[in-house]
């Protein structure tokens, strides 16, 4: 017993001591990707196709969230750091500066397409049109009534506008930790309150931002958790038909027999409307690549080529089949050329 214990302990000590040096000594032969969970389904699809061709190993894709991905991506150059990060928004100036400070000076930005944020109801439920201002009024923590900001008194849609149906306000959406929630706040709530006269009259910019962004917490807006599938299931199973779910377009695309998207400002959330920019609630998605890793990490250049190819991004490619809304053909061509020429990004303003 004694010998067994000592032998095991010694073996463990040796393994632990040796392994990291071994791992560092050899250069990486596999692309490593981190970043947004929204872009994750698309990047993994490209990674799998890329790996299937058999020339290079399938890249490892981590789902860390856009902000977390940027932190890991900007931490430095070399095999210990990832080559690519996914982002469901543009890199900020502050993140760009962090990158620069840590030696990640040359970055290639590849816009891959759009993600629409949809509001959806159970199929067959009353699906009335709304504007972003009406959504803001239904969901804001404080709304103006008779020139005063008061705690949101609205219980039913027709109290906001008599033309809306007499239905209870019930919305289920992602929690604040989600990127989808950030975009919802930015694209719906902030845009919705912009033209409200009482908000415009506010002098203090911070108070104005607060009033625009805050979502009510009296049970009318329910946080459904990070998992969009759960929100879809809740909406599809809703008896009254009043429940409205907030999630990414690809989840609507996969469940068209159970739920339908809400028309916002006269535009239904369809592939074409989001691609052409008509649908107001859409955001751009990007991937960022380290220039210094191209031609050092095997396959990185080919991976960029695969991602921007017509086979992937084209109208009949496999990314649109997964729900990605791609750029129009001409812009795709432009992106492809910029990417393959390794054109570097400028500091975002």
């Amino acid at each position: 017993m004694k010998h067994v214990l000592f032998a095991t302990a010694a073996a463990v000590a040796i393994t632990v001591a040796l392994t990291p040096t071994q791992a560092n000594a050899q250069a990486r032969d596999q692309i490593r990707i981190v970043g947004s969970s929204t872009v994750f389904p698309f990047t993994t699809a490209v990674a799998e196709q890329f790996g299937r061709a058999g020339r290079f190993k399938t890249p490892v894709v981590e789902s860390t969230g856009t902000g977390g991905g940027m932190r890991i991506f900007c931490a430095g150059i070399g095999p210990a750091h990832p080559d690519v990060t996914n982002a469901s928004r543009r890199m900020t100036a502050a993140e760009f500066d962090t990158c620069q400070r840590n030696g990640v000076t040359d970055i290639i930005e590849i816009p891959i397409g759009f993600d629409g944020i949809v509001l959806a109801v159970r199929k067959g439920a009353p699906n009335f049109e709304v504007t972003r201002e009406q959504i803001w009024k239904a969901l804001a923590r404080q709304v103006p009534v008779n020139g005063q900001l008061v705690n949101n008194p609205y219980q039913r849609w027709n109290e906001i506008d008599p033309r809306l149906p007499n239905l209870a306000i019930e919305v289920i959406g992602p929690p604040p930790t989600s990127g989808t929630r950030d975009s919802f706040v930015e694209l719906v709530m902030e845009a919705g309150c912009r033209n409200v006269p009482e908000i415009r009259a506010m002098q203090d910019a911070r108070a104005r931002q607060q009033a625009c962004q805050a979502i009510r917490e009296d049970g009318k807006f329910v946080e459904g958790g990070e998992n969009d599938n759960l929100i879809v299931q809740r909406v599809a199973a809703d008896r009254t038909g009043a429940l409205i779910g907030v999630f990414g377009y690809s989840f609507l695309d996969q469940n068209l027999d159970k739920i339908e998207g809400k028309v916002i400002e006269g535009v239904p959330p369809t592939y074409e409307n989001i691609a052409t920019g008509k649908y107001p609630v859409a955001r751009s998605m990007y991937i960022y690549v380290k220039r210094a890793h191209v031609d050092v990490i095997p396959g990185l250049r080919e991976f960029m080529a695969e991602y921007t190819s017509e086979r992937a991004m084209g109208d009949t490619g496999y990314l649109p089949a997964k729900g990605l809304i791609t750029h129009p053909p001409q812009r795709r061509q432009e992106i492809r050329e910029r990417t393959m020429n390794l054109t570097l990004m400028q500091r975002p303003s």
């Binding site: 017993m1 004694k2 214990l5 302990a9 993994t44 210990a80 027999d257």
Partner: protein, 469 residues
């Protein structure tokens, strides 16, 4: 009944007891008088209507208490059954997958481009083309790019790999016409399994159009479309196509991670427990250590992930997503549990064993290694297996060290990129495709089976080696 029933002031347990006391009293004349008096008095005290009411109340309280316990167990069992039934209802279908039977002509020009029947040549062969050609022959009236694209949409993008593997195993098939069951796409699979609703326009699930559904019905009526055992689910790793995913990547990753974890934390845990229990002096310092160990056992697991990120990845420069780092982090998490369980096992060894060994002249180390440790080992193993089962279900600490990742390859070593079973479940639950719902439930069933096995081993070890004194 005790020998001295119902002394003054000691109430009897029930009227029957009082009657028994009276009956027993008849045998002994001297005490009989006293006893009779006592019995009488107690009878007067304990058989009145009020006393009976009190008694009934106490019985009722006991029955209520038992009912609470039974209700609690019933709720727990009900919840467990509900979970299991939901999982089985959702997940069992994942063990079968829809296949389409096709007569595929293995045209040498397509599948053996170099014409030498070598492995390299076959690997570059266009088996997808051969299968699509077979499907066109099955539906010769389909023309036009758009309609053909819809027709090929019935097939999985991974359909060709099965056929390629069969040809690789037997190159003499090249040039012949063979019947293959090829993998159907996830949309067809969902329709076959009844997860897609048919729509008034003839389509289904919002994903298949009317013509595709018509082809589906035609194939199904001819018996050329059926469910078959989903072997791939046990031999593949992750994929973005629900019809192609497998859990082997997660299972192997979990195995490697847990191996590292066990190798690290069992010897260290047992050594720490033996020292603390048998050798360490009792002073404020060892008390402090004990308090800290108990405290660490309750620290949220994500904290260990952060520690792993800071120490092993950033300071020691170990690779991301590696089972080695995952195992070390989980070992840190399991160590307190194992130390506590091992100390309890050592404490359960009776002092008489130690004293007998000392009496025969054994040294302290001989006492511990020859007697106490072998007797305490079954308890230590049980504790370790339960700690391992806990580590098997852990995802939070692995998030920080990059094991929550899309990894298509099956890990081959401790520094290969890997993920673990619960992470695989977590990621599948997040995917938009409908086919992942059943795969998620099926993976949970597999994880539960593993946990059940580990706990069964723990019980078996306890029953087999446990000694009672």
């Amino acid at each position: 009944m005790s020998n001295q029933p119902a002394k003054d002031g000691i109430p009897l347990r029930s009227p029957q007891d009082a009657a028994g006391a009276a009956a027993a009293a008849v045998a002994l004349p001297r005490e009989a008088v006293d006893e009779a008096v006592v019995a009488n008095r107690s009878a007067s005290r304990h058989t009145t209507a009020e006393a009976e009411k009190r008694l009934r109340r106490r019985y009722a309280a006991q029955r209520r208490f038992k009912a609470y316990g039974i209700t609690a167990i019933a709720i727990a069992v009900g919840a467990l059954l509900w979970l299991l039934i939901t999982l089985l209802a959702n997940g069992l279908s994942a063990f079968q997958q829809t296949y389409i039977r096709l007569e595929v002509t293995l045209d040498p020009a397509l599948v053996d481009p170099r014409g030498d029947r070598s492995e390299e040549s076959i690997r570059t062969g266009d088996f997808g083309g051969a299968i699509r050609q077979a499907l066109r022959e099955r539906f010769p009236d389909v023309v036009g790019r758009e309609r053909l694209r819809n027709l090929f949409g019935l097939l999985s993008s991974g359909a060709e790999f099965d056929v390629r593997d069969k040809v690789l195993a037997d190159p003499s098939l090249i040039g012949t016409k063979q019947t293959f069951w090829v993998l159907a796409s996830t949309d067809v699979d969902m329709l076959r399994k009844g997860f897609f609703e048919r729509q008034p326009d003839g389509g289904a699930g919002g994903r298949l159009n009317a013509e595709q559904v018509a082809w589906f019905d035609q194939l199904k009526a001819a018996g050329d479309l059926d469910l078959r055992f989903n072997k791939r689910f046990f031999t593949n790793a992750d994929s973005r196509e629900p019809e192609m995913v497998g859990i082997l990547g997660g299972v192997v990753g979990s195995f490697l991670t847990l191996s590292v974890c066990l190798v690290l934390c069992f010897p260290f845990g047992v050594a720490a427990a033996i020292y603390l229990e048998e050798f360490a002096p009792k002073n404020w310092f060892t008390d402090l250590i004990e308090v800290n160990i108990n405290n660490l056992a309750a620290v949220p697991s994500i904290i260990f992930g952060l520690l792993g990120l800071a120490v092993f990845l950033n300071f020691f420069g170990m690779p991301r997503s590696a089972p080695l780092v995952g195992g070390i982090v989980l070992a840190l998490m399991s160590l307190p549990t194992i130390i506590i369980a091992s100390r309890a096992a050592l404490r359960a060894v009776p002092p008489s064993i130690r004293e007998a060994a000392y009496g025969l002249g054994a040294s302290k180390m001989q006492v511990v290694l020859h007697h106490v440790l072998p007797l305490g080992l079954p308890g230590m193993m049980t504790g370790s297996i339960i700690a391992m089962a806990q580590a098997l279900g852990e995802t939070a600490p692995l998030l920080m060290i990059g094991m929550v990742a899309f990894i298509v390859g099956i890990p081959k070593g401790l520094t290969d990129s890997a993920t673990v079973l619960p992470v695989q479940i977590f990621m599948w639950a997040d995917n938009p495709e409908r086919g992942f719902v059943e795969k998620t439930s099926a993976a949970i069933l597999v994880l539960l089976a593993f946990l059940l096995t580990m706990n069964a081993i723990a019980i078996f070890l306890r029953k087999k080696f446990e000694r009672r004194w």
